[in-house]
């Protein structure tokens, strides 16, 4: 076959300007409503990320006046994103932060997102559900805390979001609450085959081809995945879900305003213990104030506590809604050790989405092990720069040794642990003394491991190394690291040990809500993305149902469950999907 030097018709050119594009076919053509500076909106959502995107969509569809404040840009994917590792730096939160503790977390790249869509722009899109046991780790396994909700409360939202995103995966996912997926599974890449080989040899069940929020079949204006492997650098194809393409367009079509380049600096509260609005800094550096009848903070596990702490006032000297002292506390990251194996044959792991194969066989607590809770094993596939850093960490390579390892890049495959680390009040977000260029005090993250965590990591690491050897690796090395970040404003029943109630409503302030990953009391060994978006949909149903009580001063709080609204989904959500077991 001849090798064409260019596409038919010449090199690919930029599309015509003047249209806001969210993908090769998807455009944002609905004009966005703009509230005037003095308007008081019903709900102001701080952070239009994974949770914020779902919230603005649900609330605007229900007819409320909604503004979403987002610190980063409103992406035009064709113009702003590049299919390149180094050039994707803009997607991550790279504003100043400090990290410390006995096991300091690395922030920056791929840790938190920035821009409309937030972390859902750069996530690898694994979307497993939490297990029923994750909601009651204290009662069941004696560690962590119980959630104020049960799995069954969240299950309808899991099912709904799995159809909205949609999620592709096997017809039968056997772990936790067994179920099947809306879209069929994905083809394997090099790493997936290794994981399957290794697990099959050791008799470990494997979930092939998902669950991932990546299209395995075109849907509406979003094409099928083209297996290019740049998920973490932003999906220009639009096959990987982010709320930027799945929920925000519908929100704008229903009258929501998404205000980009709006960094919230402070939430104002009046003398009667009700928030009045959000103070923010716009693109030009001018401070503005958005009046709202209720405020929902969706800034993720670091920015949400940071904002609440920065909003300290005479009524709340240690931080807004922080009478419990739990704002910023019990921050959790999951163990994310990466095991790298070198193979004699080529792997070429840069093709296919990094997320395409996993197993949760070791998820639950096993009494025969010496630690509580467990871990999942997932495929990952770093691109060259990330892989170089992994070689530096796992083998201590530098100089000529690093050149040598990198020349063998195509021979390496990588599998990672995703382990549940326990909540610890000493792992927290506080404020550092320094400020960023807007004068807002910067977040400081302190993190360390407890005994259970260390034993879990040691066991998980060994197990994944066994899988790698069983897959036929000639050399196996390991890199210690962490993944994801949740907690910091956790939900709970007791106002002394939690920040919000079961719906994300802060115990202290009636019209202040938190709705993002910081709500998690424990984290399980599942990637948090699906749970965050499902919690947001659940919170939205409460906000819609109880809006009258929320907006009225002094109205009593309802803790009753609210029926799920299935009529508020974005337009492309349809039908039952492919045949699968377990519904």
């Amino acid at each position: 076959m001849t090798k064409p030097k260019s596409p038919i018709g010449g090199p690919f050119q930029a599309p015509e300007p003047g249209v806001h594009r969210l993908g090769p076919m998807q455009v944002l053509d609905a004009p966005m409503r703009r509230f005037s500076p003095d308007d008081q909106v019903d709900y102001c959502v701080v952070g239009v990320g994974a949770a914020g995107g779902v919230l603005v969509q649900r609330l605007s569809r229900a007819g409320f006046r909604v503004v979403g404040l987002e610190a980063g840009p409103f992406w035009d994917t064709e113009r702003d994103w590049v299919s390149d590792e180094k050039g994707s730096h803009q997607l991550y939160w790279t504003e100043p932060r400090v990290t410390g503790g006995s096991h300091p977390l690395s922030l920056g790249e791929n840790n938190s997102g920035r821009g409309v869509g937030g972390g859902s722009v750069h996530w690898a899109a694994f979307t497993p559900r939490l297990h029923p046991s994750d909601f009651r780790t204290q009662s069941q396994d004696g560690v962590g805390v119980d959630w104020p909700i049960a799995y069954d409360d969240l299950k309808p939202y899991y099912e709904l979001l799995e159809r909205e995103m949609p999620v592709s995966g096997p017809a039968y996912f056997p772990w936790g609450d067994p179920h099947g997926y809306t879209f069929g599974p994905h083809p394997m890449g090099g790493v997936g085959d290794l994981l399957i080989r290794g697990c099959t040899k050791l008799g470990i069940r494997v979930s092939i081809g998902g669950p991932v929020a990546i299209l395995a079949g075109s849907r509406g204006n979003r094409p099928h995945c083209i297996y290019r492997g740049f998920c973490i650098q932003g999906c220009k194809v639009g096959a990987k879900q982010s709320t930027l393409i799945s929920h925000v367009p519908d929100a704008i079509a229903h009258g929501a305003e998404v205000r980009a380049h709006a960094m919230a600096s402070r939430i104002e509260i009046d003398a009667e213990n009700r928030v009045t609005g959000v103070r923010y800094v716009d693109h030009q550096g001018t401070e503005r104030f958005q009046r709202a009848r209720a405020v929902i903070v969706s800034g993720y596990a670091i920015e949400t506590p940071r904002l609440l702490l920065n909003s300290a006032c005479p009524a709340y000297p240690s931080g807004l809604a922080n009478s419990s002292g739990m704002v910023g506390r019990c921050l959790m990251a999951q163990a994310g050790n990466v095991i790298l194996g070198r193979f004699s044959e080529l792997v070429r792991m840069y093709k296919a989405p990094p997320a395409h194969c996993m197993t949760e066989e070791f998820y639950e607590t096993d009494p025969q092990r010496d630690f509580a809770r467990g871990f999942a094993i997932q495929s990952v596939a770093p691109l060259p720069i990330a892989f170089a850093k992994q070689m530096i960490a796992s083998k201590g390579s530098w100089g000529w040794a690093l050149r040598r390892e990198m020349m063998d890049y195509n021979h390496w495959g990588t599998i990672a642990v995703l382990g549940e680390l326990l909540p610890n009040p000493d792992n927290r977000v506080t404020l550092a003394d320094e400020t960023d260029h807007r004068g807002i005090r910067v977040a400081k993250v302190t993190f360390g491991l407890c005994d259970n965590d260390k034993k879990l990591i040691a066991f998980a690491r060994k197990k994944v190394e066994d899988v790698m050897w069983a897959a036929g690796a000639e050399e196996v090395v390991q890199e210690s690291r962490f993944a994801h970040l949740v907690g910091g404003a956790r939900m709970g029943v007791d106002p002394r040990t939690s920040v919000t109630d079961a719906f994300g409503r802060t115990h202290d302030v009636d019209n202040l809500f938190v709705c993002d990953g910081s709500l998690f009391p424990t984290q399980g060994s599942a990637n948090p993305g699906l749970t965050i978006q499902s919690l947001a949909a659940r919170a939205a149903d409460y906000l819609i149902d109880q809006s009258a009580a929320i907006f009225r001063r002094g109205a009593p709080r309802s803790r009753e469950k609210v029926a799920i609204r299935t009529d508020l989904s974005p337009p492309d959500t349809w039908g039952p999907g492919v045949p699968r077991l377990g519904g």
């Binding site: 809306t182 083809p187 085959d193 099959t200 092939i208 094409p223 083209i226």
Partner: protein, 380 residues
């Protein structure tokens, strides 16, 4: 022609007793059929040379007829497996007589089933993302059912079978349009055809579904082997087009050769980009790429030349049919070799080599064999 041959025959049949005759000998049957110019021992068309094919057919005639002649003495209903077996043995003879409706209906049913199974899992790979992707599975199942029913029931064979088969072909054309659109909607669209046709929806596959539909329609116009008096055609049935007359008479070799050529071409193209995706990792993957154009070319040649239809066409068609069968075995082996092997059978069928696709190539070969056996359109 002063009178249409069909009318001539009908009045001839009507002149005999109206009672159903079930025990005509084959010689008698042939005699009553004016289209059949010859005896029971093979072709007597002196213009055709006695090629290997003719000799083979003559041998077959003698063997099957002797065997079946004995069977025909026994009275009573036959179980359907036996009926199908008999039908299979007598199939070449029926084709030459132009009485192959039952056989062709059965084959059409099996083709639709095969095509439907192939589409079912291919569309599962596309996750039924567009609702219309369910239609080929439903229509294949319906067409298969109608065809199998039509093998039993003559009235169904004239009505429901061609209707559903026609719908299936139409659905195939719609599918082709959707697949072309699907490739256009991938990033880069038709500007990078090597990648997008290989990784996108298989462009010609929906048309290959049409093989089962095509056979179903053809069978609807043919005569039945179990109905020597030809009473199954309704009085008002008048073949309007030349080709339907030819089909009815069982003399549509050129037409069938053309269809074979089309099917072979499409199958070959499908094999080409599927095997290209695999980078022709196995040498055997080149064989359908070589065989398909041979079959297509010889089928086109057969349209022009009677002689080619008896020599080149059956040879290449047999080659293609065998190649497809071997391909099926290779694909099955490929599925087994994937990580997880038979333990992950569902997934490995989904993403392994497409298990039924070589059989669709065999189906094109089969059409070629059919074309080579049947009679040719009479010159006007």
């Amino acid at each position: 022609m002063a009178r249409h041959p069909i009318h001539a025959r009908r009045s001839a049949a009507a002149s005999t007793s109206g009672a159903r005759e079930t025990r005509l000998t084959s010689a008698q049957r042939y005699r009553d059929c004016p289209s059949w110019r010859g005896g029971a021992a093979g072709l007597t068309d002196q213009r055709v040379s006695r090629s290997i094919l003719d000799r083979a057919l003559a041998l077959l005639d003698r063997s099957s007829i002797v065997w079946l002649a004995r069977r025909r003495e026994r009275r009573g209903r036959e179980h359907w497996p036996l009926a199908v077996l008999k039908e299979g043995l007598l199939f070449p003879q029926h084709v030459r007589e132009g009485r192959a409706q039952r056989s062709l209906a059965l084959i059409a049913g099996m083709s639709s089933l095969l095509g439907g199974a192939e589409v079912a899992y291919e569309h599962y790979r596309g996750s039924y993302g567009q609702r219309i992707m369910y239609t080929p599975i439903a229509l294949s199942a319906l067409a298969c059912g109608a065809s199998l029913w039509g093998a039993r029931d003559p009235s169904v064979a004239r009505t429901l079978m061609p209707a559903l088969s026609g719908l299936l072909i139409a659905d195939g054309v719609v599918g082709f349009v959707f697949h072309v659109r699907g490739v256009a909607r991938k990033p880069g669209g038709w500007r990078i055809p090597a990648v997008n046709v290989t990784t996108g929806p298989p462009v010609f596959a929906p048309l290959l579904l049409g093989i089962g539909g095509y056979l179903g329609i053809i069978a609807a116009f043919m005569r039945r082997a179990d109905d020597p008096g030809d009473r199954s055609f309704p009085r008002r049935f008048r073949p309007r087009w030349r080709w339907s007359y030819d089909v009815r008479e069982g003399q549509f070799q050129k037409h069938m050769a053309g269809a074979t050529s089309f099917a072979a071409l499409l199958s070959g193209l499908e094999a080409l980009y599927s095997h290209y995706k695999n980078n022709f990792r196995y040498k055997a993957q080149w064989t359908p790429i070589v065989t398909a154009p041979l079959l297509a070319a010889s089928a086109l040649w057969a349209v022009k030349s009677r002689r080619a239809a008896r020599t080149a066409l059956p040879a290449t068609a047999l080659l293609a049919a065998a190649n497809g069968a071997i391909g099926f075995l290779y694909h099955a082996r490929g599925v087994k070799r994937r990580p997880g092997g038979l333990g992950r059978l569902g997934y490995n069928i989904l993403y392994g080599p497409p298990i039924f696709a070589p059989l669709l190539f065999s189906a094109a070969g089969f059409l070629g064999l059919l074309a080579s056996v049947m009679r040719r359109e009479a010159r006007a």
